[in-house]
Structures are given as structure tokens and as C-alpha cells.
Symmetry: C2
Subunit: 261 residues, 2 copies
DNA sequence: CAGTGGTCTAGACCACGCG
DNA sequence: GCGTGGTCTAGACCACTGG
């Protein structure tokens, strides 16, 4: 089992056996004797080392997995999790000066950290606004919206899903309701349509993913998501877009600038 | 088992039995037939209903727990999780006009949502700056800092731990290095000392809690944390404080305002 | 006390990966 | 084919909660 320093179970301790085992393994990871990408000893090796039943070992391993420290790969083994490149979302990512350069925010930022950006499953349709979205857009209960759904990937690995809602009255028949929103993205199009943007509000939650989200982002167990809802306001105060995004928490650091005023 | 509509296992399906069971229960929760606070059928009831072994039921229940949908209470049962009151952290929470009113941000905001705020385990000491903190404060490697640790509670339930670091050179011998930082908190004291605050930078991550964090915040399994690191800058650009906080993700929505500039 | 969930055992068969 | 993890069974004893 390599250079690991795994003690034996202390039968006198009142700490559960599986917790003692997960403590040992967690200690090896935190001490760096098990590095990201390293293989954790197999179940059979641990069974032999500790002299316990298989389910006890599995419970210890599940503990580590639910803490986001390891991933199990069927037929290969259990590995210490290695983090993908982290994308930093800065407060100024929607500044007009970036938009004017013609690249959508995601592409520019991802190239900036040396990753290969891509976008897939772009779907655009017109639909009834969900209630919470309608509220944020200050629309009536029967309002129609253009809905743009897409998924963002870095180096082929999905990191974020996003759904934008724009009042149909604004976007219908424009490039916003076509899959390719053009240079600078939909914010550039909104400004061309005369909706000069003034500010954005972002609400951020963190939670465990639903089953669908875990599938769409290929999330291993133990990785939470950021759920970010951004509302874009035009000068004059009208809400012109709501963007509902779900991001893999280990692909992102969100970064904000607050004036002391 | 009440009004629940729990189907039987489909033996023809290739979906694992325990996943079929957790799908059923998840459906009852999402449909609202199991409301927050409701008791999920007991293991023995589920064993009888589905005719499977206990470990299979337990695996299904663990699935729901790791998704943050339920909590198990030893000797009582498994319950649908009910959310505590959510505290919204707004962009303007450190605006000077609030500080001038003399209430620290946490107290004022919590009373605003009808909760009873409290703070405990306040510890203050002087220590060597950890490397990452020293970097953020632009201090040398042997720099000393005043460290202020505390835990915030709403209605007696812990929601956040915070550790502030202030260069010792600034804070030594002032009220900042005493447990009670006085009206308006340490930001008010820093300004009185001539460090007029200009802006704050916040970095936000989400992840599963460590064991220590889960204990300090009494987090049930399946609840991630926000890890927020805020740096306070004085006019002139000097970093005068770093605050490292860990927040229960289901007690908070973070809210930010971004100018379109 | 009865009922609940928490831990643990000692097996079984299966599906996946890799050589 | 062999070793890996994934699922499942059928028991056991324990600790906690509540009447």
C-alpha cells in the first residue's frame, strides 16, 4: 500500500470503526501522502489491513466521497480528486469595454486561463415566463419570453449551464431569438436595440445538485453547485434579461468588488 | 404511510432498486406530498412495502440525505429538511451609512429578517500571519497580525464562522485587539484610526464542509458551505483587513450589484 | 418499554477496465 | 481473466427517543 501510514483500529475508542478508517485516509490526503490523482488502497487491501467487513470499508470510503475528497471509478479504483482549472468570475466581466471587443465573456475569460472554451446544446424558443422569472422581469403572469439555453465547457468538460430569459416583446424577430447571438453576445444585441445596460443584480446560492444537474455537469458525488441568477437592468430601470445559471463549484471562484461608499 | 403514492419496484428496470426507491421518495418531496418537517416512512415500513433488505432501504435514504433533502434523527425518524430563515447578504452591507448607525452588520440584518442574532466564541490573539493571509495584506513573511475569531448564530442556531486578520502594527493596543470591538465594529475603529475605507474585494467558493466546520455549524450531511474571503482596502490602496468566513449555504443568499460601466 | 436509526458482519452476484 | 467497485441479502447488536 505504498508509503501510507495507516494505523490499526483502536477497539477501545468509542469512535465508529468506519469513521476511524475514514479519519486515517483523510489524514493521508491532508498530509499530502495521497496526492490528487493518486489511487487510494483498494477495498480488498483495506479489508485485509483493518480486518473488517467490506461494508465497513465502503462506508468509510463513502464518507470521503461525500466530502468531495475522492472519486470512485468503477473497475479502476478510488482516486483522490484533482481539481479542474478554476475560472474566476470578476465583477467587471460584463463591463461594456469587454463587450465592445466582440467576444462573449465566457470565451475571453477561459482563453485567459489557458483553457479551451466551447458551448453546446444551444436551444432557443419562445415560451410562457416561469413565475419567478416573470417577477424579476416585472412582467404580467401571462407574459411571453425568449428562452436561450446553453451549456459551457472548458477543455471538453462541462462547467456551467445557463438559461437566459428575455421579454419576447424585446427579442422576437431579432438575432437574440436565433442560436448564434453574434459578436459580444446578447448584451451587445440588447444595446443595439436601444436598451443601454445600466447594471446587473446577482443572487447566489450554493446547494447540492439535483440529479439532472449532476448529469448535465458530470458532477461526481460530493461536489455542490453555485446557483446564480442575474438580472440585467437597462438605463431607466427596466429589467431586460434574467439569466439562471448552475455552475460546478469546483470550476469557479466568484469574485466581487464592493465600494465602501 | 399516509397519503403517499409509493409504487412498487419494477424488476424489469435496469435502474438499481435503491435508486428506484429514492426516486419515489424524492418525487413525493418534490410533489409536496411530503412537506418540510414531515416524517418519511420508517425503515421497517419501507422494508415491508418494497420487500427488500434493510441495507437497500438505507442506501436509498442515504441518497436523499446526501442531496440535502432529508435529515435523519437517531431514535426519531427521517424528516424532510426544513430551511432556516435565509439571510441575504447585500452589496451595500458595508456601506458607511450603516456603520455610522453604530450597529454591526450582522445584528442589523438579522433583526431585519425577524431573527434573534447572537455571537459567541469571540477570541482575540496576536499571531504570525498565515501565508495566504499575509499575501492578501501585502505583508512580509514574518508579519504579525491580530486575529479575531467568532461565530454568528440566528435564533441560537450557528450559521457562520469568521476569522478577521488585521496587521498588528495597525491594531495592537487599540480596541480592535479586545473582544468587544465597540459600536459599528472593527471597520468603524479602523476609520477612527485614520484608515478610511475605500472598497472591499470578496472571493467566494462553495464546497462541502470539513469535519470541523460541520461540527461548528451543526451542519447535517448534504449541506455545502460558502467560503468567503473578504479583503478591506483603505483609501490609498492599502489592505487593512482580511476576513475569512465559512457560512452554512442554506442560511444565506449572497447578493451583488454590478455596474455595467 | 417499543420503535427508531447507527453500526457491523459475511456472504453473493454483477458490471466495468484493462491487459 | 482478474481485480476493481456497485448492488443486494439476512441477519446481529447497539444507542437514542418517546410514551
Amino acid at each position: 500500500m505504498g508509503n501510507l501510514t495507516l494505523p490499526l483500529i483502536d477497539p477501545a475508542s468509542d469512535r465508529a470503526v468506519f469513521k476511524q478508517i475514514s479519519d486515517h485516509l483523510r489524514g493521508e490526503i491532508e498530509a499530502g501522502r495521497l496526492q490528487p490523482g493518486d489511487k487510494v488502497p483498494s477495498e480488498s487491501q483495506l479489508i485485509e489491513h483493518y480486518g473488517v467487513a467490506r461494508m465497513t470499508i465502503r462506508q468509510a470510503l463513502r464518507e470521503l466521497q461525500s466530502e468531495g475528497l475522492t472519486v470512485a471509478e468503477h473497475g479502476r479504483g478510488v482516486f483522490v480528486r484533482s481539481r479542474p482549472p478554476v475560472r474566476r468570475l470578476g465583477s467587471d466581466r460584463f463591463a461594456r469595454r469587454h463587450r465592445d471587443h466582440g467576444k462573449a465573456a465566457f470565451i475571453a475569460e477561459t482563453e485567459g486561463i489557458g483553457g479551451k472554451p466551447s458551448v453546446d446544446s444551444i436551444q432557443v424558443d419562445e415560451t410562457q415566463a416561469p413565475a419567478d422569472i416573470g417577477d424579476r422581469l416585472s412582467l404580467g403572469s401571462d407574459a411571453r419570453v425568449i428562452r436561450r439555453s446553453r451549456r459551457y465547457l472548458i477543455n471538453g468538460h462541462p462547467v456551467e449551464t445557463a438559461v437566459s430569459y428575455i421579454p419576447a416583446e424585446i427579442a422576437r424577430g431579432t438575432q437574440i431569438s436565433t442560436p448564434d447571438s453574434g459578436p459580444g453576445g446578447i448584451y451587445a444585441r440588447l444595446e443595439e436595440l436601444g436598451h443601454r445596460l445600466d447594471h446587473f443584480d446577482e443572487d447566489i446560492r450554493a446547494r447540492m445538485p439535483t440529479r439532472d444537474e449532476a448529469r448535465a455537469l458530470k458532477l461526481p458525488p460530493g461536489v455542490p453547485v453555485f446557483h446564480l441568477v442575474r438580472t440585467a437592468f437597462a438605463e431607466g430601470g427596466r429589467a431586460v434579461e434574467v439569466c439562471d445559471t448552475v455552475m460546478s463549484s469546483d470550476a469557479y471562484v466568484l469574485s466581487y468588488h464592493l465600494p465602501a461608499r
